[in-house]
């Protein structure tokens, strides 16, 4: 290689960016050329000095947070950079996105059953399934003092378990079930051969008196008290189920 070519390659030698063949050729030339040696030494020294003495500017601690704040598409912070160009683009984009989202969510909302309807469906399905699959009870006992402790460690709450055999509702056992994305306690009572599933889970809502409804031939009564929600479902007559809920609510308060 010519001297002038070597001269041009010196920065890459400093930066160790040359291939092996070029590195060897340049180094061979350096052995014989004082001018190139001086040039190489100067480049290397300067590079070293810049690297060791120049400060890197770190981003201010709050910059990341400020950037994150501007990201939600609505209001990017206006600066003098490209303000006009940005304006049209982003405004139009976010307006269209908002419109689309609004249209989509209205459509979605209309097609959705209400939470209440969904829960009713889910509870009836669970009730039917528990009867079909011969899996009515995980723990079979008529003794409330056997059933209640059984839930310990299986649930994050302790459901009230009350035997109502004297009133004609015989406790048969308990079961773990899964409703609305939560594990719930299911207690099984029998009233004149009719099984009753009583689902219990914690709630934040206020106490509410019993409300009855009928769906697909099943009767449901739901109520809330002492930060628990109760749903009773059965094929017994509705007044029997209401009676059951009444007795249970009284007993729970004693």
């Amino acid at each position: 290689m010519e001297h002038s070519e070597i001269m041009e390659l010196l920065p890459a030698l400093v930066d160790q960016e040359l291939g092996i063949a070029d590195t060897l050729a340049v180094q061979r030339h350096l052995d014989t050329c004082a001018e190139c040696r001086r040039e190489y030494a100067e480049q290397a020294a300067l590079s070293k000095r810049v690297r060791s003495e120049t400060a890197c500017f770190n981003a201010p601690p709050d910059l990341a947070a400020r950037i994150a704040n501007t990201l939600p598409q609505d209001k990017p912070r206006r600066s003098n950079f490209l303000a006009r160009w940005h304006f049209n683009w982003l405004q139009l984009g976010s307006a269209m996105a908002t419109l689309l989202l609004a249209a989509w969510s209205v459509g979605f909302y209309l097609s959705l059953p209400s939470a209440q309807e969904r829960m009713t469906e889910e509870i009836i399905a669970s009730h039917v399934r528990s009867l079909q699959a011969d899996h009515l009870t995980d723990v079979a006992s008529t003794d409330q003092h056997t059933v209640k402790p059984w839930f310990n460690g299986r649930l994050s709450f302790s459901p009230p378990v009350i035997d109502l055999a004297a009133q004609g509702f015989v406790l048969e056992g308990g079961r773990l079930d899964y409703l609305d994305g939560h594990p719930v306690a299911a207690l099984i009572y029998r009233h004149q051969k009719h099984p009753i599933n009583l689902y219990i889970w914690p709630t934040n809502s206020k106490d509410a008196g019993p409300q009855a409804q009928t769906s697909r031939g099943y009767h449901l009564v739901r109520w809330s008290s002492d930060e628990m929600t109760y749903w009773a479902v059965s094929d017994v007559a509705e007044n029997e189920l209401l009676k059951f809920s009444g007795i249970l609510r009284l007993a729970a308060h004693q």
Binding site: E8, A12, R51, A55, C56, N80
Partner: protein, 182 residues
């Protein structure tokens, strides 16, 4: 609506390189204040294009955006006024608060000399013409390869090499009179 994943990608790809972006922005704008605006603006752009990024070098990708954003702004500014102001704030910056410097000894006299020499170097680097300054910062401070720099600046690798060579020579020349005076 893929906002969460888009935000997640942004957090994962862009945020780790905020310091690099800010450092380059500081050396391009020569002002901390402008650098903050520049990085914010560039981040918004990065956010918009983050879905289109499929490479594995997110830092080079972000630095490309920072640089492009800067040049757009720079050209607009230059159209308005020819002579840009030299930002005093940047040059009076105490390098001690700025970064990764470690002093090997605590001798106060040495420290003062060192600081003085650093300040000179900083000033000299800041006064380099943009085309040399940017490759110098990317190479010496960000430790990017020729290939990465070539990609960011949009020039051949050979040009990266020659700009670095000339940049170092220029810098040495700027620093030379000061050194002789000592």
């Amino acid at each position: 609506m893929s906002e969460p994943t888009k935000n997640g990608r942004f957090q994962m790809l862009v945020m780790p390189h905020l310091n690099s972006a800010f450092n380059l922005a500081c050396w391009l704008t020569r002002s901390r204040h402008d650098a903050e605006d520049l990085v914010q603006e560039a981040s918004l752009r990065a956010f918009r294009f983050v879905d289109g990024f499929h490479g594995d070098d997110a830092r080079a990708w972000l630095l490309t955006i920072v640089r492009n954003t800067f040049y757009t702004w720079y050209q607009e500014q230059h159209a308005q006024q020819q002579n840009t102001l030299f930002d005093e704030e940047f040059h009076s910056l105490d390098t001690a608060d700025a970064g990764d410097l470690r002093y090997r000894d605590n001798n106060p006299e040495q420290l003062l000399l060192r600081k003085d020499s650093e300040r000179q170097l900083q000033r000299a680097l800041a006064s380099l013409p943009l085309e040399f300054r940017e490759v110098m910062v990317m190479r010496e401070l960000e430790d990017l390869s020729y290939k990465q720099i070539a990609g960011i600046v949009g020039i051949p690798i050979g040009t990266v090499m020659s700009r670095l060579g000339r940049g170092r020579k220029l810098l040495a020349k700027i620093l030379a009179p000061a050194n002789q005076g000592e």
